[in-house]
Amino acid sequence: MPKRPPLRAPRSQRTAPPLDRVERRLDRLDRRFGASGLPLDELLARNGVSRREFLKWSSFMTAALCLPPAFERAVARAAALAPRVPVVWLHLQECTGCTESALRSAYPGIAELILEYLSFDYHETIMAPAGHAAEKSLEDTLSKHRGEYLCVMEGSIPTAMDGKYLRLGPAGETGLSLARRVAADAKAVIAIGHCASWGGPQSAAPNPTGARPVHEALGIRTIRIPGCPYNSVSLVGTILNFLLVGDLPALADGRPAWAYAKRIHDTCPRRAHFDAGEFVEQWGDEGAKRGFCLYKMGCKGPYTWNNCNEMGWNEAASFPIRAGHGCIGCSENAFWDQMAPLEKPLADGGVDIPFVRGVEGTVDAVGWALVGGAAAGIAAHAAYSGLVKGTRGSGENREE
């Protein structure tokens, strides 16, 4: 494992965009798409969501997106427009888990409605037609909404063997070629999940198919929503944000800062046990029954930037740490290689365990102390992006 580069804090949250510009932009989108698709009011009514609940949700999302309260109305407008903007969702080298995740929104009610009723003009998992008729749906959207449709890419792109590890459509186009074509005229490209954001498991050493994340394979800017899978609230927020400002959101390491600016470790409900030096030492032990810290069982929370703890999964039913399993770092670049073995702490993880120095060789070989170092909180976030580039596909599993 290479040494971590120096720590640096992500840029601070952006300043809010001018509200009048946002309103003008929404006016324009409304003129273009307002008459098409399903009205949100209709969806809400059908699902028993009151206007009041919707406004509450808008204000939640406004806060989540780090926008001032004055934007609540604009967020509500953007939400109402969201199901009408055409979306082309490409499946590349993937497992469809990210599509499934879109069906299981973490925040009940409105977010999932918007996701389910986004105008998926092309989405192979749910669309009625197949073959040539499916192709027609794609081409119709590309020509009719040129420069206006949103593109969501699920999966990495195999680049070895001229991209022929993935062929799509009646003409047997390579995934690389199709992705390039669809991205070219998209308003924005959202890279969904770990595969599209960072390359996914197939890009782990030795990366047999030359799998690359979308931004690398196509040489374009993407909004990355990593995670295996990502939490669907992050996708909804990103789409809203995009409708509001028409540009990439403030990014932290290529990801929307509003969703990925906090470490799992810092929002962890078991954090007090970490600070108190109370650890699970073996699966199912007394500590496990009492909800102690999972660091020594390999939890990668200290190096992972995501909102699992705060947003929860499956309508806030739980999240991995609550279920007693450590975080595996699935929103971080190359975690399959860099964070492995998943059930062991990183040998050079840059985290000092209070009170237990010397107990476990792999743990106490660490460098600086976490306690008292505010900068430490920012830790691996920037670090991973730097160090991973040099090691991807090196084929070496780190020894303890």
């Binding site: 497992c95 469809t96 069906l103 003009d121 037609p129 047997g172 782990a204 198919t209 039913a317 998943l342």
Partner: protein
């Protein structure tokens, strides 16, 4: 004769191409091609065996839990340990809930549009639709005329809006759609309801497994969710949701399939989509703590030639894989090699110059598994037939009750319709079983709250895990050397079903099931989708193998 390409096959997991040869409107030959390759098994080599479950889980995000489950059993088998009773029961609960949820999504959201013409629903009489619902259930789910009228109104508004999204360019109006408008409205309405209900399954998996897709609670030796298991509120949360899922299965899914079965019975009786007629089940859901494979909820077995009077015992050593028509290379491609011993090299030969697959050469990333050199079908139909033929009482009752309700003989099951019906009956079987497992879990924890069996990872070992994914029989084999994964192999359901021909030219299950099918409109491959979807394809699972060539390793074959 005309050759048709259907690519992409939509409403499945993964990238599948089907090509058919048509004589008029009749399919006379077919080729099934997996079009994407990742090489997960090569990536596993050299890793800590304890990472295999989470990594192989990523083979598929639809049957998101099954590879995780099977890999965990496989590593435990290599180590020689068994999980404590509570962990075994939790695993059954997660696997079973996932099956129910997955089958619901499959029927309504992936397969439903093959049977249901959404546009026809616009001309339905909601009052008659309500009456229709009551013909198939005493208390049908959300089916009163007022509600159905509202659904109809919304569908109409949606169609009028002109922005049909995923429903654009569907095969609406095709004569192969046979449900009356009221039937279409009823199932379309449940399509929407099922979007909500399926989330309950995700929540159960999240409560026990942290999140879904890609649960995170299994570890080699047990499960991690002990704090939740000891919390009565959380157990109640699980039980409530499991019951609700079961209610939807009984009041919506089963009646809707009965409705479809009554209308499409002729196709079933004619054997449309019959396929090979050989059925294979590995068996799943260990009911005893010693993991005795004769005590499984779903028994293992082999049925040959549609003969339900005889179930042959399943012997894993009879599994081989051919690559004659797959994009891999064997030293001698005229024979199959035991999947746990095989040598695999990529040998990609591309599509033909005319853009079609090269049917007499190599044409798929899937291998062709064979059992005792015969092609097999796996999946819900295989499991239900094996259980039925073995006389499992719950399954006997479900199958016989359904057949007598529809007034059809058991031979109707050997068809596309039979596959779809068997999936529904199996869902009911598992959904009815799940609440009992919650009771069993609570009782087990009272006397033994262990959730983990400690172990020492061996330097050298071999092991395997066998189970049933929603789509069919799933097995993982691994070899540990020097404490690391030296070799890893998965033989998965969709490889059995979607694989290409073998050396003898025997078609795979998809291919065989399409031959003889008449298309109402050759430009609309509706009947092809219906049959292929009845298998519930999962192509990402199916394309798995990549191992650099080398001396073949001596594997313990079970």
């Amino acid at each position: 004769m005309a050759r048709k390409i259907i690519d992409p096959i939509t409403r499945i997991e993964g990238h599948l191409r089907i090509e058919v040869e048509l004589d008029g409107n009749r399919i006379v030959d077919a080729w099934s091609s997996g079009m994407m390759f990742r090489g997960i098994e090569a990536i596993l080599r050299g890793r800590d065996p304890r990472d295999a479950p989470l990594l192989t889980q990523r083979i598929c995000g639809v049957c998101t839990h099954v590879h995780y489950d099977v890999a965990t059993w496989a590593v435990e088998d290599a180590i020689g340990i068994k999980p404590p009773p509570a962990a075994r029961i939790v695993r059954n609960l997660i696997l079973g809930t996932q099956l129910v949820q997955d089958h619901l999504i499959h029927f309504y959201h992936l397969h439903g549009l093959d049977w249901v013409d959404v546009v026809s629903a616009l001309s339905a009489d909601p009052r008659k639709a309500q009456d229709l619902a009551h013909q198939f259930a005493d208390d049908p789910w959300n089916a009163d005329a007022k509600h159905l009228a509202a659904v109809k109104g919304r569908l109409a508004a949606f169609v009028e809006s002109g922005q049909l999204g995923p429903f654009a360019n569907g095969y609406w109006g095709n004569p192969s759609y046979k449900l009356p408008p009221e039937g279409n409205l009823l199932v379309a309405s449940h399509y929407l309801d099922a979007l909500d209900v399926q989330r309950l399954g995700g929540q159960v998996l999240a409560i026990l497994g942290g999140k879904e897709p890609h649960t995170q609670t299994l570890v080699v030796g047990g499960v991690t969710c002990v704090a939740d298991l000891l919390n009565p509120k959380r157990i109640g949360d699980v039980l409530f949701r499991i019951r609700k899922l079961g209610e939807f299965v009984r009041r919506a899914y089963i009646p809707d399939v009965l409705l479809a079965g009554s209308v499409y019975a002729d196709e079933g009786l004619a054997g449309t989509g019959r396929g090979i007629g050989n059925y294979l089940a590995y068996g799943a859901y260990p009911l005893s703590d010693d993991l005795d494979r004769s005590k499984l909820l779903m028994p293992s077995g082999v049925i040959l030639g549609g003969d339900l009077t005889r179930v042959h015992p399943f012997d894993p050593s009879k599994i081989t894989e051919y690559v004659t028509h797959s994009w891999y290379r064997y030293p001698d491609e005229t024979r199959g090699i035991s999947s746990a011993e095989g040598v695999t090299d990529v040998a990609y030969t591309d599509l033909g110059p005319d853009g079609h697959v090269q049917g007499d050469g190599k044409y798929s990333w899937l291998k062709a598994p064979r059992y005792d050199d015969a092609p097999m079908e796996v999946g819900p139909l295989a499991r239900v037939l094996v259980a039925y033929a073995r006389g499992v009482p719950e399954v006997k009752a479900l199958v016989d009750g359904t057949l007598s309700r529809l007034g059809v003989p058991a031979s109707v099951l050997f068809s596309t319709l039979g596959r779809t019906a068997a999936r529904a009956l199996e869902t009911r079987w598992v959904a009815d079983t799940l609440p009992g497992w919650v009771d069993e879990l609570v009782a087990a924890l009272k006397v033994d709250d262990r959730t983990f069996t400690p172990y020492t990872l061996p330097r050298e070992a071999v092991g395997f895990g066998l189970s049933e994914a929603p789509r069919g029989a799933l097995g993982h084999w691994l070899r540990i050397e020097d404490g690391r994964i030296a070799n890893y192999q998965c033989v998965v359901p969709t490889t059995w079903n979607a694989g290409p021909r073998d050396a003898a030219g025997n078609r795979g299950a998809y291919e065989e099931s399409l031959v003889g099918t008449e298309l109402a409109d050759p430009d609309q491959p509706l009947e092809i989708l219906r049959t292929i979807h009845s298998f519930d394809p999962c192509i990402a699972c199916a394309v798995h193998v990549l191992r650099p060539s080398g001396p073949s390793r001596a594997y313990r074959v079970l």
